[in-house]
Symmetry: C2
Subunit: 154 residues, 2 copies
């Protein structure tokens, strides 16, 4: 039996949070739409200045420059039965400057929702926090579609 | 080669969205904290009235009753190279009534973040939307930690 109490929560330092952000490439982005939270998955990369993603979502999300956002990633370390979650909070802005746009286009980013109105958006994190903890019931973190997903990557 | 254009987006009807919500058990919840979006994973179940989850997060999130929230789930159907996402938007409230609390405690819910201050929270969705689309680059939807995750469930 694991002797660690399952209530133990380990705070991750910013360096580890950034390392995890660098390892992952899909996160969930929370934004505000008319004052109500909305959320969607994004494929992202780090570009040295912040977190960049490409989106077909239009002005509904991005007309307000410097929109408050939170990007979350999470994972599960099966060997240790530990789950973790990292959240980067900051303001997001569409990349408009020509040279920055050219750099963004070189990032090889795939939009979650493809379409003709693609925007490159960068979040400059104002805070980044992470936590890791032992879960007593790792089975619940398995989603049914992971079975299908893993088959395609064997 | 897939003949379907990768820009094709299929809207899911509410019945399919509810069916997917019933199949999954982990989602990401977006909430507002001092006007800024925050996001964290939750283990949830449907209880006939709405979406119920248990959380160790305290009054920071739930002191304001009827907090606006969005719960998102997503997955990837490898056989068809299709990704999907479902979002339920609504207001969340801590379950306080004694008989409702007893029912919630019978739901066998595991909090993401364990702790002594556990709350049961229910979202009554005001809207539920979903979409599915073909992705041309399924490889990007694989997260590195999925390898570790899948090993534990063989």
């Amino acid at each position: 039996m694991e002797s660690t109490p399952h209530t133990a929560i380990e705070r991750l330092d910013p360096e580890e949070c950034w390392a995890l952000l660098g390892q992952m490439n899909v996160g969930r982005l929370a934004v505000l739409v008319e004052g109500h939270p909305d959320i969607f998955p994004v494929n992202y990369v780090l570009d040295g200045q912040g977190i960049v993603f490409r989106t077909g979502a239009g002005t509904k999300y991005w007309s307000a420059m410097k929109a408050p956002t939170a990007l979350e990633i999470d994972g599960f370390e099966a060997g240790a039965s530990k789950a973790w979650s990292v959240v980067a909070r900051g303001r997001a802005a569409v990349i408009l400057e020509r040279h920055e746009l050219a750099e963004a286009e070189a990032l090889d980013l795939e939009p979650w929702q493809a379409g003709s109105k693609n925007h490159y958006v960068r979040i400059i994190p104002e805070s980044i926090t992470g936590r890791r903890f032992t879960t007593t019931r790792p089975d619940i973190w398995k989603a049914p579609l992971n079975d299908a997903r893993r088959e395609s990557f064997r």
